[in-house]
């Protein structure tokens, strides 16, 4: 604030209210040179889909990285022109620098939590996970190649997963076969397959993003990065009877099956009416004791929902190399021919 020649600090005006002297603003002008600091509102949840255009997701910030007709960059889209016959290395060479710049520009690390929904068989997955800086509270929901995938897909998926794990990111893996067979039906929305089914599955999961991230972070502290999941969407008493049946039923359709001894943690999140909370919690205990007695950690989370139908999602922590082991042969077959297509080539 300006001062009069006699040192009285002033309100805005021409003369000092205390002594009547004329105010001088010359020495106060430097104040105007300093700009106020802003705290941008980046929101709590960021979801970026990679190689999955047109997912219908809900978050504070939703963006997509995809290939299309031409290069196009907006605050919510990083689209590159498809490279004919191009693999992940071609996209990396051409777009890695600009994707890093785009990620910085849209504040990829600024929200509280981040989920990347990545089709790791898509060459862009390697590009995205190479460009992604090392961030906390960031998880990858990944469709991964399996034994039915081609060696090129296995190679791409292997490299992408290795990059994610190398950056310390927890991964929820869905095998390509599981993703291809996903089919949900609800009375209000009808059938959903493909990208619609993924959107439908992610809808409850991302609505509980804070809890989901918390569970993944807890598993990280146990050294567990790799997860798979199972779900019952729009479940009801008339279909499943008691809640324990729903828990048991969903465990027969896990997104990436493993040997029983490979499951290390099990966590369920239920979205239902408040009066059902107790029943679901007890059922979770029964389910855990029956099928995952030796789990290192098991947690139940409940989210109140208005609908009579409930959603139940369970994530299973497992050995980090489960997903990689299944596709290592395809990966190595490609690297044998083209050594630059190794994990090291993307780092």
């Amino acid at each position: 604030m300006p001062r009069c020649p006699n040192g009285h600090e002033q309100r805005l005006g021409l003369t000092c209210l205390t002594c009547g002297a004329e105010l001088s603003y010359r020495d106060s002008m430097e104040e105007l040179r300093t700009l106020p600091k802003v705290e941008p509102a980046y929101g709590n949840l960021t979801v970026v889909s990679v190689g999955y255009p047109r997912l219908s997701l809900s978050a504070d910030y939703v963006a997509e990285i995809s290939a299309g007709q031409a290069d196009l960059k907006t605050p919510t889209a990083f689209e590159v022109a498809s490279i004919r016959g191009g693999g992940w290395l071609d996209y990396n060479k051409k777009h890695l620098h600009e994707l890093r710049q785009w990620m910085a520009l849209v504040g990829i690390g600024k929200s509280t939590d981040r989920f990347l929904v990545v089709n790791t068989t898509d060459p862009l997955s390697v590009l995205a996970l190479s460009a992604l800086p090392k961030l906390e509270r960031t998880a990858v929901i990944a469709v991964v190649a399996d034994q039915d995938s081609t060696p090129v897909e296995q190679n791409t998926s292997y490299v992408a997963l290795s990059l994610a794990l190398g950056k310390g990111l927890p991964v929820i893996a869905l095998s390509e076969t599981f993703e291809g067979e996903m089919l949900y039906f609800t009375e209000d929305k009808g059938f959903a397959a493909g990208a619609d089914a993924i959107s439908r599955l992610l809808e409850p999961l991302l609505s509980a993003a804070d809890d989901l991230m918390d569970l993944l972070e807890r598993d990280l502290k146990l050294g567990i990065k790799m997860h798979c999941l199972s779900a019952v969407l729009a479940g009801s008493k008339s279909v499943y009877g008691i809640a324990t049946n729903a828990f048991m039923a969903q465990s027969y359709d896990i997104s990436m099956g493993a040997k029983p001894e490979e499951y290390q943690t099990v966590h369920s999140i239920v979205f239902s009416r408040r009066e059902s909370e107790g029943e679901f919690e007890k059922s979770f205990d029964v389910f855990r004791n029956r099928k995952f007695k030796g789990a290192l950690s098991a947690e139940f989370r409940f989210h109140e929902a208005a609908s009579q139908l409930y959603d139940l999602v369970t994530i299973y922590g497992m050995s980090n190399d489960v997903a990689l082991r299944r596709i290592v042969s395809g990966y190595q077959a490609i690297v044998g021919n083209m050594p630059e297509l190794s994990v090291e080539g993307a780092s």
């Binding site: 805005l12 040179r33 520009l105 504040g107």
Partner: protein
Amino acid sequence: MSVPPAGKVASPEWPPRTYRLVSATYQDKAYPEGVLWVNEAGSEIELRKWTGKDRRTGTAVARFNLEPNVDVLVEGPLLRVSGLSITLESPGVAGEVADLLGRPAKESEAVRLLSEAESSVSGFLEAREEALNVLSRIKVDPRDALFEVQSMGTTDDTEPLDAVYSHYSTLLAASLEKMTSSLATGEKALGSRVTNRLYALAYAIGAVQNALFEGGSDLAQELAALQELGIATTAEDLRMAKPTERLMLRAHQELVVLATARSPPN
């Protein structure tokens, strides 16, 4: 005394003056007596000779509309202007008339200098307004706003927001330097009163910008300060686009009056 020529209006504050001539020469003809009529407000002079039986009626011999940059030469009681040579009663009177006739040129120069000074103040304040507008957008919608201003030199190891601050810090430092330098140069001719007023104006508009940026203020203090500076406006008006440009325009007339201010004649 005489009547102003038809078609010319004499300012009530600055009435025309007449000065008795000792002698005058115009177009090789000598006029041994008469008066010099000076309408300062209309920037015109007349050479008048006495006519009539009583030799008391002033009749115009020649009338001149003076350009602001007209040359006025004084040698003792002799005054030369626009082909007219006039010997007045004393060197003091000749000096007074020369001062009167040179005043439009001084005022024109003062207005020019004032415009330069105002332009430098506007330059700084408008750069600041732009910076605060960008920061306001970043505060609410950082991704869209930073995407729009990505040309501000984001590099791999620079945070986009830091690049924006860096860009505007450099711009504001340069424009503030330009402003203070311009005001210092102009102060020699405009005087400290005008310069102080320009600083006060810049600070008050800066305070308006801050209040608008912070939001939630009724702007009462800022409106009162602007009122003191001779700018009548409203909070609604300040909240419309580009308030700096409008405030500077509204301040201009008051500043011109200050810059060309003179004491009324005795």
